[in-house]
Symmetry: C2
């Protein structure tokens, strides 16, 4: 048995996970990220004890603990080099956690954890597997031969920051034209807002009103009812997503690309056209093709993924 | 000792190469690609015997032969799935070669060979190494832990066909906006021609006249003499190159990126500004950075690279 801890800006979530990635017990406490980090670590250790106790175990029964954390992580040492959400700079997270719970501890970037968790549960043993998450940003993690690909320095797999439109929209990272600035849920909302301004007659206004806000579903829902302006937003957004996937595929040819994040709940309405575009525009015309699927883990992905990197 | 064979559209070049990538002897014959492929293979085997004899060896003294070939190759079987330059479709190149010269034979895509050769000679044992060639197209090869990264299907590492400008210039591959359509020598010539049309006063006209043609050096040379229109071409071209390198780096974080191809002879005039752009725009702000260098192998790269994949 393993424990996975998902250290988020809002909540610390933890759970006991078996070797097949099944979640046995879980719990959560608020992060309260403004307090001293050492107090957050204390709550993480406490929560680990609790979720173990929930299934009748002690920490001594746990093989290893994995911690998924936003930011730049030194996977070898378990040090958080820099994290913005939970203020940390050169913080020895694994070492501090071990002082409170004497276990093997691995710390990794949350996107790498998510990829490893998804691979473990839904990867079907693929030789190479990539998870791309369309959420607030565009996250990604690459698993090659069962291990996370980290690059020589641990900073690899930031697919959200490949260039999609050189010199284009400013990204939160400071560069212009990143894939994330076009294909994230945040970008889709902006694209939807712009189209709504230009098309006061569009059904998108009614959809947004019913939901109480404009979100990643607004254009997709209005398009399903035949709204042309919404369909144009959806078509452009799908091309942005697909064009980035073509880049990833031409570069890496992973056996599987799984698409996660809230927008992936659109299912075949998103995946179908993405596959068509990639089929038509991918450079590989003669060899077996990458399978493009929807990610399967949602709410518990962070916990399962964190446990997976400790396995 | 190894033999490397560089099967090009114009010439077949071959040489004896030692384990450190030093070329001991070499020779070449015309490919005459219009004749039956089997005759080309016969010349390849004959040339292998000759270059071995040139340094007092027989084929029995050779550990293995590597063949670098343009197109889509099945590295496991040595079959050329498809090649456009030398017409081949599902041609068992390794098998046919072995019938004429009983040796271990490996066949790989020429870009993969080039990367492996460059890594062997100039890689300094980097954990991950990428060669990017700015030539007629933009070629690339990735070496991870001493082996070529091929993806699950052998078709990986087509960095020239990552998207640089979604929906932009049409690429020879059929997709719009590929990096190759902006950062190849071919693209630079087009960009130079366009600027020359718009600026009849530009020094580029004189430079091109002296050389007898417009080429990848025209804008660089005129810019060095203070020509503003030429400087604008160079600046834009460097941003195209650098923006693609940022994509590769954000995705893969290779320890070394070596830039090859004719344009890399511009040296620091190209590399300096590329490094500055990547430093400023790369996502990795906290971990050790990728080293960006000029490739060192030029004329013999194909032979040495082909031998390297057989080692």
């Amino acid at each position: 048995m393993y424990i996975g801890i998902d250290l988020g800006g809002t909540n610390i979530a933890a759970g006991v996970v078996d070797a097949d990635g099944r979640l046995i017990s879980s719990g959560a406490v608020p992060t309260r990220s403004e307090r001293p980090t050492i107090e957050i670590v204390r709550d993480m250790a406490e929560l680990a004890r609790e979720v173990a106790a929930d299934c009748g175990m002690e920490l001594a029964d746990i093989k290893a603990v994995g911690i998924g954390c936003p930011g730049t992580i030194n996977f070898e040492t378990g040090e958080v080099i820099y994290s913005n959400n939970i203020k940390m700079e050169h913080f020895p997270l694994a070492e501090e956690f071990r002082k409170l719970a004497d276990l093997t501890v691995k710390v990794d970037n949350d996107a790498n954890c998510a990829a490893m968790g998804e691979y473990l549960v839904n990867g079907g043993g693929a030789k190479s597997f990539m998870l791309i998450t369309l959420g607030t940003g565009v996250g990604s993690g690459l698993v090659v031969n069962g291990s996370v690909y980290r690059g020589f320095n641990g900073a690899a797999s930031e697919a959200g920051h490949i260039t999609l439109v050189s010199g284009g929209e400013l990204c939160t990272c400071g560069k212009k034209g990143c894939w994330e600035a076009y294909a994230s849920a945040t970008a889709l909302v902006k694209q939807t807002e712009k189209a709504m301004e230009e098309h006061p007659e569009s059904l998108m206004h009614k959809v947004a009103e019913e939901f109480g806000k404009i979100n990643g579903q607004t254009a997709f829902l209005a398009a399903k009812s035949g709204d042309e302006a919404a369909q144009a937003v959806v078509d452009a957004y799908i091309r942005y997503v697909a064009d980035g996937i073509v880049s990833v595929e031409n570069m890496l040819q992973p056996e599987v690309i799984a698409i996660g994040g809230g927008i992936s709940r659109e299912g075949e309405g998103l995946l179908g056209p993405v596959r068509d575009y990639v089929e038509k525009n991918g450079f590989n015309k003669f060899m077996e093709k990458t399978r493009i699927t929807a990610a399967g883990l949602f709410n518990d992905a962070g916990i399962i993924g964190a446990a997976a990197i400790a396995m």
